[in-house]
């Protein structure tokens, strides 16, 4: 689903984003990106969205080479990628319903199917009652669920989440994670950048650890920190 080959991204003046980064993420995988702030997690996500362009290297998303993807096709790429952010990125002037519906309006979905799909996905994320509320009227956890609903309403093959639980309390975070797991079960590839140690340790999914722009660990059923021999023995 996502292929990075020797990708280098350096910000001005020479702050490293990603360095010689190579990785493959297969269809239907559930992957955590971990690492300290500034290690390149967000850079990776923004590269996949073609919000950023790498200085060198190749990036393939769903078989398409982003380097040769025309500017006018970028919106089409993004429609196939659901996005969830730490700060939710909801349109403040639209109701919960309209925020989700916007993602469908954008792809030219007929009104009839919008009327059907939005309530469906909102009840899936447990927000059927909040349809007509505005983002500022609901809690952070609820806002994040709206954002997940918006990301998934098109049933994209890929869903990216940048610190999705960073701004919400641990219990609510579990709910969000469960939602993402359910989305993953429908066949959608899910990539989550996170600082949430407990979550990663509990879930035991594939972990990609970044440090200063390099991939330092790629573990099948990983935990948040690398478990070295001694620590493992001590446990």
């Amino acid at each position: 689903m996502i292929v990075f080959e020797d990708v280098i991204k350096v910000y001005d003046p020479d702050v490293v984003g990603l360095k010689d980064f190579t990785c493959h993420i297969g269809k239907g995988e559930f992957v955590f990106l971990v690492g300290p702030s500034g290690s390149g997690k967000s850079t990776l996500i923004r590269l996949v969205l073609k919000e950023l362009v790498p200085d060198s290297g190749r990036i393939l998303v769903a078989g398409r080479n982003l380097g040769t993807l025309r500017k006018s096709k970028v919106p089409l790429l993004r429609r196939n990628i659901g996005c969830v952010f730490q700060d939710f990125k909801l349109l403040p002037n639209k109701t919960v319903h309209d925020n989700v519906a916007y993602a469908l309006e954008v792809v030219g979905e007929p009104r009839r199917s919008i009327r059907r799909k939005v309530p469906e996905i909102l009840s899936l994320v447990g927000l059927a009652e909040k349809t007509d509320s505005y983002p500022h009227e609901i809690s952070g956890g609820e806002q994040q669920r709206v954002s997940v609903a918006r990301a998934f309403v098109n049933h994209p093959p890929l869903l990216l989440a940048d610190e999705p639980t960073g701004n919400i309390d641990p219990e609510t975070a579990v709910g969000i994670m469960q939602l993402l797991v359910r989305i993953n079960r429908t066949g959608t590839t899910v990539v989550i950048a996170t600082h949430d140690r407990d979550m990663v340790n509990r879930m035991r999914r594939r972990v990609l650890q970044l440090e200063a722009g390099r991939l330092v660990r790629d573990e099948r059923r990983g935990s948040y920190e690398q478990v070295t021999g001694e620590v493992g023995d001590a446990l």
Binding site: L49, K50, P75, I81, K89, E105, V106
Partner: protein
């Protein structure tokens, strides 16, 4: 795409950001009202100048003893001149009738004979050529000159020339003023639009993330600019029109209309602006709003 969606997006956002929308409408209103006022004034000055030019007249007085043949010869001479737009023969009786009208019966009643000469009133095509036309009658023997003078030919020389000069200067000034105010209107409106879009740049960013194409994002903003410009400019057009109408009425009812120029003219009477001032201003405002939005959005829609 879906026009009704774009329109409801535009109207919805105007309703939500109504303070900003009001500010934009008022900005458009003020700048186009000033522009409209300048245009109306220029238009009326133009008309004033034209009517003044039309009033430039040469009077050629005829000797009483000239007789019909010589008078007719003079008439043929006038007819033959290219610069002459029209002429009119004023007989001695007509001259007396006019005199009586102006100064009253009593003075005329005491006159033993009619002392007033017959004359031709000549209108010239081009007011600037009055001199050369008048000169051609200076030495005509049929003309009622006192010996050694040309007082048988009368025309407003210096006054008219000065007035025309002033008017053409004012006209030029008005062109400059129009330009300045048009530029000011464009700048003011585009700044206001840019401000309102800056306040919503996050919104634009989110739309892009969800995969909206640039035009999908643009349309609501362009429509919003269009509506704002249209409303503001239509208010301005109505305002200018009512002001124009009020001043015209006031001038007519008071007696300062001494030049008997109709100083103010309504847009429907035609003028410098072929389709009339109101629709022109409205279209101008709407276009400014729409184009302003497009330009202001540009920097947020770079991929």
């Amino acid at each position: 795409m879906r026009f009704s969606f774009f329109l409801s997006e535009a109207l919805g956002s105007m309703r939500r950001n109504w303070v900003m929308a009001m500010a934009a409408v008022i900005t458009v209103f003020i700048s186009t009202a000033i522009l409209g006022a300048v245009l109306v004034t220029r238009d009326n000055l133009n008309q004033g100048a034209t009517s003044l030019k039309n009033r430039v007249m040469i009077e050629v007085f005829i000797k009483d003893e000239a007789g019909p043949e010589k008078t007719q010869a003079l008439e043929r001479k006038i007819q033959g001149m290219n610069e002459v737009k029209s002429y009119k023969y004023i007989s001695k009786e007509e001259a007396l009738r006019r005199f009586r009208e102006r100064f009253g019966e009593r003075i005329v009643a005491n006159l033993p004979i009619n002392p007033l000469p017959a004359s031709y009133e000549i209108q010239v095509k081009d007011a600037d050529r009055v001199d050369s036309v008048a000169e051609q009658f200076f030495d005509d023997p049929t003309v009622d000159n006192d010996p050694g003078t040309h007082n048988g030919v009368k025309y407003a020389k210096e006054t008219v020339r000065k007035m025309l000069g002033t008017i053409s200067l004012i006209e030029k000034g008005m062109w400059v003023t129009t330009g300045i105010f048009a530029a000011a209107a464009v700048l003011l409106i585009s700044t206001t639009v840019r401000l309102s879009i800056f306040a919503r740049r996050r919104e634009v960013e989110i739309m892009r993330l969800v995969g909206a194409t640039n035009w999908f994002i643009r349309w609501p903003f362009v429509l919003e600019g269009f509506i704002t410009g249209l409303v503001g400019a239509m208010l301005a057009a109505v305002f200018v029109w009512v002001g124009n109408w009020g001043i015209a009425n006031w001038i007519q009812s008071s007696q300062i209309d001494f030049l008997s120029l109709r100083v103010f003219r309504m847009w429907w009477q035609g003028g410098a602006w072929p389709p009339g001032l109101m629709p022109s201003l409205a279209i101008l405002g709407a276009l400014l709003g729409a184009v302003g939005s497009l330009v202001a959005l540009r920097r947020y829609l770079k991929t």
